[in-house]
Subunit: 333 residues, 2 copies
Amino acid sequence: MENRQIVIASLPAGRLAAENFELRTAPAPTPGDGEVLCRTLVLTIGAGQRAGLQGSASYAGAPTTGIVMGGTAVARVEASNAASVPVGALVTCPAGWQDYSVHAAEAVNVVDDDGDPAHHLGVYGTNGLTAYFGLFAVGEPKPGETVVVSAAAGSVGHLVGQMAKLADCRAVGVAGSDAKCARLRDELGFDAAVNYRGDGFRDEFKQACGKGIDVYFDNTGGDILGAALRRMRPHGRIVCCGVVSQYDTDDPAPGPRGVPGLLVNNRVRMQGFLVFDYADRYAEARAQLKEWVTSGRLVPWMDEFEGLERAPEAFVDLLAGGNVGTRIVRVAD
Amino acid sequence: MENRQIVIASLPAGRLAAENFELRTAPAPTPGDGEVLCRTLVLTIGAGQRAGLQGSASYAGAPTTGIVMGGTAVARVEASNAASVPVGALVTCPAGWQDYSVHAAEAVNVVDDDGDPAHHLGVYGTNGLTAYFGLFAVGEPKPGETVVVSAAAGSVGHLVGQMAKLADCRAVGVAGSDAKCARLRDELGFDAAVNYRGDGFRDEFKQACGKGIDVYFDNTGGDILGAALRRMRPHGRIVCCGVVSQYDTDDPAPGPRGVPGLLVNNRVRMQGFLVFDYADRYAEARAQLKEWVTSGRLVPWMDEFEGLERAPEAFVDLLAGGNVGTRIVRVAD
């Protein structure tokens, strides 16, 4: 049985390119005792994976070439040597960019097999959990407050804004095109959305923030973080969730002016956050997310590429801001 | 009755100089109904006052020339038209840099008249309260953790390190001379103290931090904040208390690299803090501070200039890092 694999051919110097990857084939692996063989159905691609290709300063460890590119998938169990995970089960697992992978049974999570499997990589997966815990546990929004989110049309951001509305807050998005901004307002009910690439960004952003920002959910770092810092209200909270402006470069920008001065003046709390720290509360969050999705109050966006071989292209385009919602690659049915 | 006053003659362009101030005399003011006349005994000078001479970006409001320089004093009530504050009472008040000032009775605080009045400007005043709430309420140190403080020989810093020891933490100071560092270790019991102006600062700082920083109490911003950010342990807390590296300039530096990236990777919380937000807990804090001081477990350092006319010199020298402990100016007995 043939296993197509996409491997890291070279580490990027500067911006990532599809040429940093190559496709090879290998025999499909065989599961040992206590292991399962998984067939990849859907892969997800997130900007945070770019950090894993940096030489340092990432929570993902040091990168190497010649290995299969990492990534989370929804997969079907095709063979099992573990009673706890039967053949046919739908699971999420760290499959990487390949058709087949083998895992210890404890390393896969059996998930509900009702509806689109891809939701387990989006709203019920890391993206949805990140939006949920980042906003509610770290941001602590109160009714009537203004919540601003960057990369607002992204996999996490589009959920954050909707959750802010569910918490009776004003939701303001910052995104990279007028078309994305229009969709955030028209389809997801954001109160305002501003294109950070537009000429009038500063003025439009100021106006969109009204009397100021109570919670800023930062997916980008860089200039947008700097702009938000200047508009934080006293006792505002900044959820530091991602640094997409800094992933696709080997020369990270200096931090924003106003750190720490503006933090002091406005008693702002800025808190770095990784969703894994909330693992013991995932079940509670997923129950809430499912209720919101099935009742139509939370709309998860997906953005699809077809075919394993397109994963590098999907990744490069994502880093250039091409995605709307959770970017997935459909590998098999 | 003559009232000597030091007024702001010009706003500094770049570094503050004694020439930005001038001494004039005026008749002492007369208290109206409900007011008291205060004679200044001791003034305190803090680096944060420099922010009040900046054009913007300060919590102290916009500065102007031709007015008496602001500042907190311990004063003796010389005349009173308010039953609540009798003649002879010792008070703290926003006297400014002058011999006599008039205040509404509600604007002064009657303080204990036992011991050196200057302590009301140091360990029992804003400095001590800032150290106390910044460390305990914002930093939340746990026994065995490593607490690092910058401007460690300063008015707040020398108290923070001692309080960290009282909380069973390791205390590491960063200060601006070898002599200050030696005093922190030898006289106050800091576990380590590092001179940030020394050639070997990076290596010495790394070694002093041991397995990393759990709580960083930042009085400086700038490069020391940058160095501390790289050494924060997972779930570490940064107390943003002051930005002395940025006060005496009209060209603030960019923020530290690693914001927000390192905050995310290590889930670090960085929180701006002003002591005034804790006003309803001052009494509790002062009781604890007094117990520590009278039992000899907390040693407040003071650093004295003699004579009102030396206040500008005392301020300029403070900004250059000349002080050890709380800088005060004795004006009258």
